[in-house]
Structures are given as structure tokens and as C-alpha cells.
């Protein structure tokens, strides 16, 4: 029988309003193989981003046993802080590897850029438009706070929030941390404990920038940046790169890999109106005045933006939070990791601190979170980070995460959120 393309029964099920049925309709046909992963170590190396990208891409190709000339599609995650070259990550890295005539894309979704590139590559493979895609993100980051580009730009909300409010990124992280303290009785010690856990996780990770144990006292004694968050509660920015070789399951089979790690769901979703939680770089939330019952700050029973992100990826994959063995979430701040426990469904709202204190999310616990060491050990390299999360989960699902292996991991989930309404989550299965 010939391929049906988007017509016929399957596409009718792929409606946004019934995403749950998508996984059922697609079955393993909705999956692609992660045939290879590779990274350039995170750090402050002072080189051009393309150099890191080439190292990561070659490592992923080697890992996959795929040659560069077999790659039919290059999906780059874009960085925006380093002049033109960053803007065109896909073609710049393709050129550095040597023009091979591949189709190309470059995606930008702030911190979700890497997941967006994965999403674009996955769709191309699932559409039958290619068999082998290289996904790559690389960054060279400046020192200090992430700041908007120079110039007087009164039209740009990201410029204005610095100018009018001094609302740095940690300002927003601190709002969320303070809410946890107020609503759920979280303490600065709880936040510090996230750092302690992740620092320990990252000790054995050769790709991590920081590999050193940290104590609760050290976190609490570090300078306060945005109250209640200390310097050691907040992630640094780093240079780094990560790459994946994604292929069709059939291609993997032809290469003798019958049981690859699979991308089973990718959500790069926007909020639903009214988005009632304040997000970077906004001055205000949406107004819920039109909604009758809805209240500012979120309404019980209505999914918040952050709650909707992993949910969308789970539904594509046909799994639920109860199936998750390991997670990589965006610990831009320690407190934010606790929010994510709830947002990705590992526990009910207000129970994250207990999960952490009970060791559930520590290596050896029921569902380890950030076994890589997380942003706490890496520092953020924007277009690479969401791809790096997938690298880590691939190693975990292969059972090759030496020194930080989660036992019998079969289902992993990543989560992050980028400026301007970019939620992202990837579900991997084996």
C-alpha cells in the first residue's frame, strides 16, 4: 500500500483539541530514533560557537556510525547574542563541516531553541522527507547577567524591562521562589538542597563545567542576588554545544539497531489565553477579566502554561508522568527545579519540597531529576541546552551514563521554558 501522507484517518486524529489520540494513531510511527549524541564540554573557552558545534556534531555522527555525507537535513538552534554567525547556526555549522547539499533550518525560541530544532527535524523524518537529520546547538556566552543588545530601543519589551524596572532574569526567578515559600512553606534550605543534589550528580559528568560538591551552608552563605535566591541558587552562562543524529526507525533498523532510544514526543508550545503567571520579559500577565471565573495568578483546575508543556509531550508519546524514570528540567534557579517537579507531574502542587527532601529526585531515588548535574553544573548555553538534556537522557536510557546512571531507565522527559512564550518538552523512550 502506498503512503497516505497527511490525508486519511491519521490526520483527522491529530487535532489540537484531542492531542491524546495522536499517540494512539501514530503508534511507533510517531517516533524517530536517536542514533547518535555528542557534546562539546561546557565551560568558558573563548572560541567561536561554530567550533563547538563542529566538535559536538562530529561526536554525534561518530556515535551514530553515520557519515556527514549521509546527513540529509541540518537543524540548528540559533543564538542571538554574538553577531550574525550565531543567527545562522544551521548553515554556519553545515559549512564548517563542509557543504554537503543538505536541506537546512535554523530555529529560534529562546531557551526552547534546541527543542524547536528537534521538533523540526522529527517532523521532517516522520513526513518521509528525510531519513537522517543532524540537530545541533552551540553557543558562546558573555560574562555576567544576560543583557539585551545595545542601543535605545523603546519598542522592545526586553529592553524596557531592564530600563524601567531593572527586572533581570533572576528577578522573575525570585518571584517564583518567593511564591513557593509563601504558599508551600519552602525554605532557602530547600532551594540550597537542589544545588547540593545537582552538584553531586554532576561530579562524574565529563561534559559538566562545574564538578565540585557544594554544601547547603555554602549556598546560604553565598551573596544574595535576588532575595530569596543566592548566587549559588542561580545558574551561570557557559560556552557549549550539543548535537543529535535523528533517523527514521527504519534507517536505524537497517543499521542493525533494533532498539534505539526514541523521541516519542516533542512539545514546543505557546501559552493559552489568559496566561496568568508573569513570564519573562513581560511587564504584566494577560488579563483574565473576560473569563468570568478565572482569576489572576492562575485558576484551580485550569492548566497553567508551565503545566501544559510536558503534558503535550506526554500525550504525543502515549505515556504519563507515572511512567517517567528520569527527568532533565531547567534549573535556571534551584527553586525553579521544584516548580518543574509539579509542572511535569512528578507530584502535586506543594509537594516538591517533600519529594526532594525524601531523596526521590536524587540518584538512587524513584525518579532522579537532573542526573547530568543540570544547569547548576553546566551553566546555560542557550541554543545547546535543550539538546544537551536529550543527550543526557539518551545516555541514561542506553544505560551508559557512567557514574550517574539511573537504574533501568526506560522513559525520560525534559522540560524548559524560553522567553516570549516558548515552552518545550521532549519525551524519550526505549
Amino acid at each position: 500500500m502506498s503512503r497516505q501522507g497527511p490525508s486519511g484517518q491519521a490526520s483527522g486524529l491529530a487535532r489540537r483539541h484531542s492531542p491524546g489520540s495522536l499517540a494512539l494513531a501514530l503508534g511507533s510511527g510517531g517516533q524517530v530514533a536517536v542514533l547518535g549524541v555528542g557534546m562539546h564540554p561546557w565551560g568558558k573557552w573563548g572560541a567561536n560557537f561554530a567550533e563547538y558545534g563542529v566538535v559536538a556534531a562530529r561526536a554525534a555522527l561518530d556515535d551514530a556510525g553515520v557519515s556527514w555525507s549521509e546527513v540529509q537535513f541540518v537543524a540548528g538552534g540559533e543564538t542571538v547574542r554574538n553577531g550574525y554567525p550565531g543567527y545562522v547556526a544551521g548553515s554556519t555549522i553545515a559549512q564548517a563541516l563542509g557543504w554537503n547539499g543538505a536541506q537546512v533550518s535554523t530555529s529560534y525560541g529562546a531557551c526552547a531553541s534546541g527543542s524547536m530544532a528537534i521538533d523540526v527535524a522529527r517532523a521532517r523524518i516522520l513526513a518521509g522527507l528525510c531519513d537522517v537529520a543532524l540537530v545541533v546547538g552551540a553557543d558562546t556566552t558573555p560574562k555576567g547577567f544576560l543583557a539585551p543588545t545595545k542601543g535605545e530601543r523603546g519598542d522592545d519589551p526586553d529592553w524596557l524591562r531592564f530600563r524601567l524596572l531593572g527586572a533581570t532574569n533572576p528577578t522573575y526567578f525570585a518571584f517564583y521562589a518567593r511564591r513557593r515559600m509563601e504558599l508551600f512553606g519552602a525554605t532557602p534550605e530547600d532551594f540550597a538542597l537542589v544545588k547540593v543534589k545537582n552538584a553531586r550528580h554532576g561530579l562524574a559528568n565529563p561534559m559538566a563545567r562545574y564538578r565540585k560538591e557544594v554544601t547547603v551552608e555554602e549556598v546560604l552563605e553565598s551573596p544574595i542576588v535576588s532575595d530569596p535566591l543566592h548566587l549559588l541558587d542561580i545558574c551561570a552562562t557557559s560556552d557549549g554545544a550539543a548535537a543529535l543524529v535523528l533517523t527514521s526507525l527504519e534507517f536505524a533498523r537497517r543499521r542493525g539497531i533494533a532498539d534505539p532510544v526514541r523521541v516519542a514526543g516533542v512539545a514546543v508550545v505557546t501559552p493559552s489565553f489568559p496566561n496568568a503567571v508573569i513570564d519573562m520579559p513581560n511587564f504584566a500577565t494577560d488579563s483574565a477579566a473576560a473569563g468570568g471565573a478565572a482569576a489572576a495568578g492562575g485558576t484551580p483546575g485550569r492548566l497553567s502554561f508551565r503545566d501544559s508543556i510536558a503534558r503535550a509531550a506526554y500525550e504525543q508519546a502515549g505515556v504519563g508522568p507515572e511512567d517517567v524514570d528520569v527527568a532533565e528540567v531547567y534549573d535556571l534557579s534551584t527553586a525553579l527545579e521544584l516548580d518543574w517537579y509539579e509542572n511535569i507531574g512528578l507530584c502535586a502542587p506543594g509537594e516538591a519540597e517533600k519529594l526532594l527532601r525524601d531523596g526521590v529526585t536524587t540518584l538512587g531515588g524513584r525518579v532522579p531529576v537532573n542526573p547530568s548535574g543540570g544547569l547548576a553544573c553546566f551553566g546555560e548555553a542557550v541554543p545547546a541546552q535543550a539538546i544537551a538534556q536529550v543527550c543526557e537522557l539518551t545516555w541514561q536510557l542506553r544505560g551508559s551514563a557512567s557514574g550517574r546512571q539511573v537504574e533501568r531507565a526506560r522513559v525520560g522527559v525534559t522540560a524548559n521554558q524560553g522567553l516570549f512564550g516558548h515552552g518545550s518538552s521532549v519525551v524519550l523512550t526505549r
Binding site: 547577567f145 543583557a147 519589551p157 531593572g166 518567593r178 535576588s226 489565553f273 489568559p274 488579563s287 477579566a289
Partner: protein
């Protein structure tokens, strides 16, 4: 001490009325949705077709949803005093508008807490040769 020229650091986002300053927002005549800052291209309610929103003054009082005190000077374009002094930023819920609006916190921070009532004031952001650059801020209500 002479009174210096007050310069609104952004145009059209707030009134300079000394006693009862107001944030200026938009309101959709069709569905009642509010917008701040007053810059919508169309009603942000995806179910609403309206494109013409009306200017409105927002509530002067709200309650703190969350807040922080920043202990490091932000990068440019923030104009930081030298020596730098910590400053607070609050996220404030407006009951009628059912939205949260950020602002720096003016005056003493005593009583600043989640749930605390605050009110809008106009206060100095920084000063230079042009005058006193002012912006809206929230102040703990007495």
C-alpha cells in the same frame, strides 16, 4: 532644594498626577480584557475579533503576588546609582483587571509581603542633566 523637571521615562504608560497617579492601559469594549502596557495590536483574547481597544486608567491599588529585592546592579540599559543600592520589584495583582503588573517598590520595604496591599506612586528612576526621570512604582499601603 529646587524642584527639578520631571520626565516620564516612558510615554503614555502612566499619568503624572501627583496625588492619584494611574497606570494607563487598554480595555477591549467587546470582551472586557485589559492590556498593559498599552500597546496591543488587537484584543489578546484569541476568541475575540476586536481590533480597536479603548484607553483606560487601571486600578491604583492591588495586592502583592510576589516580590524580590535585587542586590546587584542590573546591566544596561538600567541606570544604576553609584554607589549601587538594592531595590525591590513587586508583582502586583489587580483585582478588577484580573492581571498582574510589575513595578519597582517605592519607599520603605517594611510590610512588603505576599498579599500585602500596595498603591501606585510616581517616583524617581534616575536623575541626569535632563531632569528627574520618573516611572510608576508600587508602595506598601499604610
Amino acid at each position: 532644594m529646587t524642584t527639578r523637571q520631571q520626565v516620564a521615562e516612558v510615554e503614555g504608560w502612566f499619568t503624572l498626577d501627583g496625588a492619584e497617579p494611574r497606570l494607563l492601559g487598554l480595555r477591549c469594549p467587546d470582551c472586557g480584557t485589559y492590556v498593559f502596557p498599552p500597546r496591543a495590536i488587537a484584543c489578546p483574547n484569541p476568541e475575540c475579533p476586536a481590533t480597536e481597544l479603548e484607553s483606560v486608567e487601571l486600578s491604583r491599588r492591588g495586592t502583592v503576588w510576589s516580590y524580590t529585592v535585587n542586590h546587584y546592579a542590573p546591566p544596561e540599559p538600567y541606570v544604576a546609582p553609584d554607589p549601587f543600592e538594592p531595590y525591590a520589584v513587586a508583582a502586583v495583582e489587580l483585582a478588577d483587571e484580573k492581571m498582574i503588573v510589575l513595578g519597582q517598590v517605592a519607599g520603605p520595604l517594611d510590610g512588603l509581603a505576599v498579599g500585602a496591599p500596595v498603591e501606585l506612586v510616581i517616583d524617581t528612576l534616575y536623575e541626569d542633566d535632563e531632569g528627574e526621570h520618573v516611572v510608576w512604582k508600587w508602595q506598601v499601603a499604610s
